[in-house]
């Protein structure tokens, strides 16, 4: 479940990159100030403290895929407004705004690519698009990702970053959890590899569907990963949560992820995993 209008006021990193010389960015971890160029150069990882800052889907492509190239699938699958949802601002208006702000057609992009020469089916949630929330379009695209990967005998690499199911499509959003996991089940029956990458933040209905069901689950350092949002837990239990709760290191300690992988090593780690599981 996701905040409809509280998508963080983050400029897509790709835009920051084009801001030019002389612009400074403060690290969310240690407060150190970096030039935008240096920050972008280090894939938004702080050179002083190692904090990983959000990265746009375009940068994820550049980080992981050969030539940064993704042959996209199903970009034409577009949202409707099945409930006629309006809470003072209409869902349609929110969708339009999300397209404008994120530069993406919906909250996930999927397609075919190569990773160090290996053919892969690839997907990445688009957090700046309504918090990466899963409605019908996300569910359909992720489902088709697994179906096509099954047909084309490709492994699936899916980068998760989502607040959960999209409230504005009601129960249809919840049903996407069953739909995507059903597609994963069929894909898995054919003994294809699924590597789940967990990025800050991955919560709610997306965390509780494909995100933790990878053959291997990789997490970025410091990512928030959990079912219930921390504020929900705090208000339910009337308590404050311990430092580091629901962060990647916490999940590693509790046996929920296999590895915490710094951004700089993500591509080589994925390549090594695929060559073990699929053969060299």
């Amino acid at each position: 479940m996701v905040l409809p209008n509280k998508t963080p006021a983050q400029t897509p990193a790709s835009e920051k990159r084009s801001l030019g010389r002389g612009v400074f960015q403060k690290c969310d971890g240690c407060g150190q100030v970096h030039t935008a160029e240096d920050f972008a150069e280090s894939w938004w990882v702080c050179a002083s403290c190692g904090a990983h800052h959000p990265m746009s889907p375009a940068e994820w492509r550049r980080l992981l895929l050969d030539d940064g190239a993704l042959e996209t699938w199903d970009e034409h699958v577009s949202p409707t407004d099945p409930l006629g949802f309006d809470d003072g601002k209409s869902y349609r208006a929110r969708l339009e705004r999300a397209v404008g702000r994120s530069g993406h057609s919906e909250a996930v992009e999927v397609g075919r690519a190569t990773l160090s020469g290996r053919r892969v089916a690839y997907g990445s949630y688009v957090f700046p698009f309504m918090g990466g929330s899963m409605g019908s379009v996300v569910g359909e695209r992720v489902t088709r990702l697994f179906e096509r990967a099954h047909d084309e005998r490709l492994p699936v690499i899916l980068i998760h970053a989502s607040g959960g199911a999209r409230m504005q499509e009601g129960l249809l959003s919840l049903m996407q959890m069953a739909k995507t996991v059903g597609a994963l089940r069929r894909f898995r029956a054919a003994r294809r590899v699924f590597v789940s990458v967990l990025v800050h933040p991955t919560t709610g209905g997306v965390a509780a569907s494909t995100a933790l069901l990878g053959d291997v689950n990789l997490a970025e350092p410091g990512a928030l990963i959990g079912f219930a949002g921390p504020r929900v837990i705090e208000s339910t239990l009337r308590t404050t949560l311990p430092e580091g709760f629901q962060r990647s290191e916490f999940l590693l300690a509790h046996g929920m992820v296999d590895l915490i992988v710094p951004r700089a090593e993500m591509k080589s780690t994925l390549h090594a995993l695929l060559s073990h599981l699929e053969g060299p």
Binding site: M1, P4, G88, M167, M175, A178
Partner: protein
Amino acid sequence: MNHVLAFERPVVELVKRVAELRELAREDARLSAELKRLEEKAAKAAREVFARLTPMQKVQLSRHPNRPYTLDYVHRLFDDFIELRGDRRFADDASIVGGLGRYHGRSVVVVGHQKGRSTKENMVRNFGMPNPEGYRKAIRLYELADRFGLPVVTFIDTPGAFPGIEAEERGQSEAIGSSLEVMSRLGVPIVTTIIGEGGSGGALALGVANRVLILEFSYYSVISPEGCAAILWKDGTRAPEAAERLRITAPELLDLGCVDAIVEEPPGGAHQDHDEAARRLDRALYEALMSLGGLDAEALREDRYSRFRRLGSFVA
């Protein structure tokens, strides 16, 4: 029966008078005409009041403290029920019950959320909000069903999965996700009924079925109306508006294709007559299981996949 919602008061009073008169009519046959008249009047009043219920009033009924819970149906619908407990990993979560029972002569596996009737029982049942071990118990029972070729019957009635520190430590997300995956791959028929509250992912974890039934005054939603109102308007008291916008009532969910059939409740709601509610559910459940009788394991998996595969609204 001391919990009466404001809008159901006139109906409840009539239902009570019918019950009293029925007792008297047992002794005195001359009262049978009067009984019939009063029964009709009560049914009509119930129809009128209940036809105009707002979505939030239906949510209140779904949470009614006298509403039949999973075990109330289990004891009425299944013979020789044997409860099986524990996830074999950590604990037994009493907010989900499961076991073996005989349904119309055929052994089945039953799994359902279980709320408590009293405060004390609710401490044990955690108000029907499972921890990961609850879902892992369910998974264990699904796999047992699959191994022995037994149909699975599940009952959904939860405000949601428990949002707790330990739930997160033990992998609430993974437990729910795995439950979805295991239900997807079972080679036996699965029929689910939402008997009360269908609260989000914690409900769906028991709901990946070939047929999904819903009781007339149950709801099933991606988020609670209160939670939705708190997010949209920072005001939980606007839950009734959220309940309208989310389209969470049985007829609306039937229109969206999310449920396959609605089970009508007795006049005044399932809590007025547990036996009659169970009889009505029985008919729908029997029909649903029969409709799946001819399918082999692979056909059942594909039937389930295509049922969920077509859900969603998009342009392509």
